[in-house]
Subunit: 576 residues, 2 copies
């Protein structure tokens, strides 16, 4: 491709609304352009990368035995009503509209309903199972605050797959196969990523894992073990119960703590560490009006964990001061688990304490040397808190540290959540109708473009792996308008590379200074760059530079194409 | 691919709502499934064909120098308001909705606005021109009555391209290049098609041509010359002016025609052919309240032609009986062009008559031997009528006949319709801002799947050209469960063909009778079929049959793969 016939539209200025590297560089490099909030045009250069990523995904999905389909973007409400998600699906994310006959439809953000409807019609017998259908398709989620360019766009491209099974064992097998397939896909993209235990959120079902590309700009916080493969989204990471304190109980004492509102103030006043205090949070209950949740003073409540408790109402709702005062008789700053008149659920770490400080359920008073068995009637203990850096890893190996990640994939064991609600059955060996088990496997295709850039950039621009670069080689002729030889050698090398099936870009733009062409080269991130100049040609050489290593070599004109062919073939083989 | 790992979902029954062959066969063959009115799931088998068609289109578009982009599905109303189409675009076809912030958007049915917005931002100089951007993308048009399966679906896949030019000469060059590219694409699909002069409709602009695949089921009627390349949509085909009658004028006579309402009744009563009468239609005018349009008695008004007249209001509206009576003094059955008190526009064919019959502008009376020059004051003459079979071809060669066609492509010279409204300019050689000229080039990708079937089917099913078939070869083992040799030979041939990069499908389904497999083979239309049976194997032979010719051959097992490789390579070369 020659620049004179191509829309090479780079920008010097970083757009004001672009906060992270990938967003800035995709805009500056002329890969995408914003059309509306969270909605982007893919320009020729950007689309080439997107299509290469799609090709890798398609290749590995086909190799896994999955069958490609293409389901409609526009989905009838009736199916979403059957699954129960028409009202419930992540409030507001579902873009709904009416057609000309005033029937309800939505712009598909995901396709569980459509594929389950398809499967219940087309699949009749256990002999047709297992199957795994996938598609690569444009989706829409009406984010309140789209940002970070392709990272959290409203219109985006996703690979979604859905598998159907006669039983859980078969689901496990395909789930594992998809796990391996995702690893292969991300390996081929040369990404530094981690599979991470996750909450299955609005999609539902049981086990689920996310695939995170590690990057400072990631929106998710991930808890890692220092010594094992354990990794979990901080939102859901289990905090394990420490051993119970064996200290002998001391005398329970009431102390006045007037004017001390926070754990820190009370701890300081009483000369104890916040780790030896508990805080008691009052939330709305499912079976009783209120429920008390007790955590160690230095710990934070994890709302997802609290919501999973049967006794706690969903969504989680804190009691108001008025409700607390009316029910318990004091304000929130003085509540404690002892003799409180509502159900008490204690976090494992708080339960390990002895001789701790807690509120006295009397305004301006706390208790010292409280002990669970002696002083309290508790209803249950549970994991209620957010995991912290420095905690022991839940798998028993090493210590937890945090890193940030970009979620590029998510695999779920859905079980029968959709197939049961939508009555998707097949006949088993005995001719009995059985509800199918389902898995689902998402991958953010357009988001991957951004994630790859987050891991592959410097202050000059993007650094593409050869397998994913928009073009593999860039040729810059220096002042070709003044030197027929420069123009001719550039053209010759260009043709040689084309003949070798190498994707080459010739920057033959007139009236653009060499400096500007070099800047564009770095910005766009062509992996291999050849500069043809008069000076070098005098000794029959051109200048060769790689974008990643930045090393400069002089190459004899006659050897350029064979040299590049060898290097590129090896690079492409490495990413297979 | 093996059937045991594939969703092969054929139906014996023709679906009740499927009227044409392609719709019936796509459903029966398990290529698509209806999700909602005019909205279809693409099943694995169907998607393979769709992707092959996309690949041919992409290949030829790239070869033409066009650059692939991908524009958003969801488009902001603001752009459509700038172009003036937000209210005007083919009433109701535009699917509109609001996002969560209550901003207006639509589901893109076409992308003139988005690409013009893109071009006005990215293109600054005449040096960047000409450019031609294309995309292959899902679109939505909210048809009142979707039908014929993929032929008139609401959600569909389209290739749309948009070119930008410094002047009309450059637009002409690219338009011609696209014309040739469309011919190459349709040639490669081995279609019997015709480029046809067309009306540019809601898209606007000047010249435009449609590409029609000829088929009885086509929704469009096309006028062809018996002796030249002339072809035009009947909606827009010009009717040429016949030579004027040289008969000497006879005396004008008034005759009573009480109770005779139609041209046929009047002609019969007066013993003249309808060809020697005129009918006068009263329509709403642009500058005057009413206008009279005069046609020969046997001709039909073409509303598109009438609407193009400056004197006639758009959209075309017939005057009511009351308006006619009030203004002219008689009812519609007795109107004529002579001494009528409103502007008169006469169709060329009516103008050629002498001594004709017309209404007398007096209820129950007609005039005989009317003559234009002597009796009438006319305002202009024009081509007003629908062309008819038997008319002379407008290019002067041969006679017009009609055929039905499926519109699969449409190319337009838009001129400055969008670029002017949206202020899309570049600087010319002298540094002056110039409004760009535009072309646009659509092709119905999913509709092509249907069109190909309309031209390639018989009462057994579809007949795919090898280059577009979902799989090139089908292997059917006969009773493999009873014969290890049949199973093993089938598997060997299967592997040999895979190794030769041939797309082969092995029907290894258990519990399905051979007859049912044969029926599926014909229905799906695999171009090459190999049947492996015990009887043939005794003499080392398998049965080979082509779907199109239906010829049966015995092939030695050892030669099957090399024979097929040779045949298929030749077929694929033919469609390049």
């Amino acid at each position: 491709m020659k620049a004179s016939h191509y829309t090479l539209s780079t920008l010097k200025e970083t757009p004001a609304d672009a906060e992270i590297a990938s967003h800035q560089l995709l805009i500056r490099g002329g890969f995408i352009r914003k059309l509306a909030s969270g909605i982007y045009n893919w320009m020729p250069m950007g689309l080439r990368v997107l299509q290469k990523i799609e090709a890798v995904i398609r290749d590995e999905m086909n190799a896994s035995g999955a069958q490609e389909v293409l389901l409609p973007v526009v989905q009838p409400a009736a199916l979403w009503q059957q699954s129960g998600r028409w009202q419930q699906y992540d409030d507001g994310l579902l873009l709904k509209f009416n057609d000309r006959h005033n029937r309800d439809f939505c712009f598909g953000p995901t396709h569980e309903e459509v594929i389950t409807d398809f499967a219940r019609t087309e699949l009749k017998s256990h002999k047709q199972l297992p199957v795994n259908y996938y598609q690569i398709q444009t989706k829409f989620r009406d984010e309140t605050r789209p940002r970070f360019g392709l990272m959290r766009a409203r219109e985006f491209i996703m690979k979604d797959a859905y598998s159907f099974h006669i039983d859980d064992a078969s689901l496990q097998t395909t789930y594992r196969l998809m796990y391996d397939t995702y690893c292969r896909i991300l390996d081929r993209m040369q990404l530094d990523y981690r599979p991470v235990q996750a909450d299955s959120g609005a999609i539902g079902g049981s086990a689920s894992e996310e695939f995170h590309v590690l990057a400072e700009s990631g929106e998710d916080l991930i808890a890692f073990s220092s010594e094992s493969n354990y990794a979990a989204n901080v939102e859901t990471a289990e905090a394990i119960a420490p051993p119970r304190s064996t200290d002998a109980p001391q005398d329970l004492t009431e102390v006045e703590t007037k004017g001390l509102g926070t754990i820190e103030e009370v701890s300081e006043f009483l000369h104890v560490a916040p780790q030896n205090t508990v805080k008691t949070l009052i939330v709305v209950g499912e079976e009783t009006p209120l429920v008390a949740l007790v955590l160690r003073g230095d710990h934070k409540l994890n709302p997802l964990k609290a919501e999973k408790l049967a006794a706690v109402a969903t969504p989680l709702q804190m009691a108001t001061d008025l409700e607390i005062k009316a029910s318990i008789g004091c304000l929130p700053g003085s509540i404690g688990p002892i003799k409180v008149n509502i159900p008490v659920i204690v976090d494992h770490s708080a339960l390990a304490l002895a001789n701790f400080i807690c509120g006295a359920n009397k305004d301006d008073y706390h208790l010292q040397n409280a002990n669970w068995q002696r002083d309290c009637s508790i209803d249950s203990s549970s994991d209620l808190r957010v995991i912290q850096a420095g905690d022991p890893s839940p798998d028993g190996k090493g210590i937890i540290a945090f890193k940030r990640g970009i979620e590029v994939g998510h695999i779920f064991q859905l079980g029968d959540k959709y197939s049961k609600a939508m009555d998707a059955t097949v006949l088993d060996k005995n001719g009995k109708a059985v509800v199918m088990q389902m898995g689902c496997y998402g991958m953010g295709v357009s988001r991957l473009v951004a994630a790859i850039i987050e891991q592959n950039n410097d202050d000059q621009g993007m650094i593409w792996p050869t397998a994913l670069a928009p073009f593999q080689v860039l040729i810059i002729p220096i002042n070709a308008h003044k030197s027929a030889e420069v123009a001719q050698v550039s053209e010759t090398i260009y043709q040689q590379l084309l003949d070798l099936q190498i994707e080459v870009f010739l920057d033959d733009r007139e009236g653009i200074r060499p400096g500007a062409k070099f800047a564009d080269a770095e910005l766009i991130g062509f992996p291999h760059r050849i500069v043809v100049g008069e000076r070098g040609l005098k000794s029959g050489q051109v200048e060769y530079k790689t974008r990643r290593e930045g090393e400069n070599l002089e190459l004899p004109v006659a050897e350029v194409s064979t040299y590049l062919k060898k290097v590129i073939d090896r690079e492409l083989a490495d990413s297979h």
